[in-house]
Symmetry: C2
């Protein structure tokens, strides 16, 4: 009975919006380019979809750039008119929340190569008047961040208080420090890595092969004929397995059967099969297959190990690095590698491995521990204080 009550309540008011930033609107920034890409090719014009929450202060010192994961978008918080679900990190961003919109100016930027309002393979190629498809140039995490820098320039922000994100968002945060250390006071890379291991590359490669093996992919030129839905759905199913942990799957599904008995056919017998099919089928409605190809490739290409993260003259950026115990896609040892690199270069860095059974999804759902860490780290950074293990002199920009 208790369970039913809860379900009923949930159905009536699915989200507690009392502390939400409220109604938000998508924004666009376009620059003519050409953007010089790491591949040697160029891209232009370039549009970046983004959203902002809170207000930029007079000194322009309270801006935090939120960076999203592989299939994320710029809609990190608040509601679009009529929507029942808020942005993907709404629990973390809003008045009084860890990314406190009463104090900070939040910017969430979509990535180029994506399909959520920024220039990507589904955009019209000005050379042909048709969607780029696989004529879209290859992009890197460095290119994504180079485009975002233009947005930050446009917004008139000289130095970001923080760059923060999980998974590929964390990769972008690290890349911001690597590319523009003087533009970033602090960084919060979560559940991420300096570079993909061969196992991470392997999963991405199978995801790509699943898409490209679908005849409907048509070498990437399918915009008139329709998505390679089947290949993309299988690709996303693979992804979902890696986002969860063995334990969270056990807790969520165990071996429960959909019909209470075996079908003895190839329909979904187990609940976990039905869940994966549902997630796969849903994904094809909201994401472009070519974007999945380009973005996974960009992730695989990233390598900020060795001397590539920190400029030879050193950096003044301070770090909060977070990983989650049951995350086997971006295991804690990869976050520890980031921290070792920072410590060796005497960079001010705090590391925390949080307990969780949620696997890689934890960065989106383990809000309490993560939120507390982020709240305190941001407060100290904003107040001009460094972390307890830092050297304390910081950049001295105490703005409050």
């Amino acid at each position: 009975m208790v369970k039913k009550e809860t379900e009923k309540t949930t159905a009536v008011a699915p989200v507690d919006s009392s502390h939400s930033i409220g109604i938000v609107a998508p924004q666009e920034f376009t620059f003519p380019g050409p953007l010089e890409l790491e591949s040697g090719e160029t891209l232009g014009p370039v549009t970046i979809a983004y959203e902002t929450y809170g207000r930029l202060n007079a000194e322009k010192s309270n801006a935090v750039l939120i960076l999203h994961a592989l299939s994320g978008d710029a809609h990190a918080a608040g509601f679009y008119p009529g929507d029942k679900s808020p942005g993907w990190w709404d629990a973390m961003i809003g008045p009084g929340k860890p990314f406190d919109t009463d104090r900070y100016f939040l910017i969430c930027s979509n990535v180029i190569g994506g399909c959520k309002g920024s220039t990507g393979p589904a955009s019209v190629n000005p050379q042909t008047g048709k969607p780029y498809g696989t004529d879209f140039p290859f992009i890197t995490i460095g290119d994504m961040v180079a485009a975002q820098r233009r947005l930050i320039d446009f917004l008139g922000i000289e130095k970001l208080l923080c760059v923060a994100g999980g998974s590929m968002g964390g990769m972008q945060a690290l890349q911001w420090v690597a590319s523009y250390p003087e533009r970033v006071r602090s960084a919060i890379p979560i559940a991420t890595a300096l570079k993909h291991s061969p196992q991470q590359i392997a999963f991405n490669e199978v995801i790509r092969q699943s898409i490209m093996s679908d005849p409907a992919w048509r070498e990437g030129h399918y915009y008139e004929t329709g998505q390679p839905e089947k290949g993309l759905a299988v690709a996303r199913m693979i992804g979902h397995i890696t986002f969860m942990s063995d334990q969270s799957m056990e807790e969520k599904f165990s071996r429960r059967l959909k019909q209470g008995q075996f079908n003895f056919n190839f329909d979904a017998d187990f609940e976990v099969e039905g869940y994966l099919r549902y997630r796969g089928a849903n994904f094809v409605k909201r994401f472009d297959a070519n974007s999945y190809l380009y973005i996974t490739k960009a992730m695989d290409y990233l390598d900020l190990s060795g001397g590539r993260l920190i400029a030879p003259k050193g950096i003044d950026t301070c770090f909060l690095v977070i990983s989650f115990q049951s995350d086997w896609l971006y295991p804690s040892h990869q976050s520890q590698e980031i921290v070792r690199l920072l410590k060796r270069r005497q960079v001010d860095a705090t590391y925390c491995e949080l307990k969780s059974t949620y696997g890689h999804d934890a960065f989106l759902v383990e809000l309490e521990g993560e939120g507390t860490l982020i709240r305190h780290f941001l407060e100290r950074t904003y107040a001009g204080k460094r972390n307890s293990n830092g050297n304390g002199n910081g950049n001295g920009n105490k703005k409050q």
Copy 2:
């Protein structure tokens, strides 16, 4: 230079066959059936492909049944005339080897549902004169073992000295004990489980979806038009990721590039991508897509937890349970669950978790530790002695 030398030597004499059982021949056993299946359907006639090595003694007390994994076959040891590579467990089976053909009579039986000589979806359906395809009835691990029991009957063996196998071979070994405890003196389940976790089911489901999403699958009736090669290749690539560990991939591939630089296209940039593509493409030449579907389903259906492994009156079978540290597909806690179940029922059981970085593949390649354990366990069992932690009275059949 040293590496080149080794390669040259390997090319000339790829396998040390000095301790091999030598030339072997495939054998077939057919019974008319009908075999009553767990689904309620029937199958007949039923052919089982098998091989034997060594000699059955006069008392017929030295027979060991070797059971293979998902894509394995009956060719476990020795060479077919002209072949350069021996059977899949040749390092373990032969004169003086752990499964010592000078002492034991080895039988390796293929499974029904497969495509390596036993009745499966590619076999001719006597009702139609055409290959079964997906008209083949659904089978379980219990059905596979029921068919194997007919083979053991046919060979005149009342009681097997041992049933042994890794992965799905271990599942069959456990099922033998569950179905016919009085026919099995000992069992060696390796890198296996009483039942698949939702994560294991999830991987199998994505594998199936990859095959069934390929239009060439044609609902399973493709024998005149050709395999769903692309879907099957992707399915196998997924499998290969789960067979290796993060660490073994790092050791084997790291982030080495095939061409020394990024391609900036969708060809394989990294060696690990090339490896997976190669393994996928190769697999479609040797395995039937429908068999992959049926066998993965049989594995997912298995559940020998609770009271299903051990008959209410108890069993006299003794066990050697082996797992490998880096195996995340069949993690050690699943082997420990088997051992806990056995210990609770006071069954004579030895457990060893072996160190390895090879992941699930370890049971095929970590030969030394595994071989020593198996050799000693078999010797003691054959001599009528039980394990040190057993009650020592055994079944008293000391035959040597």
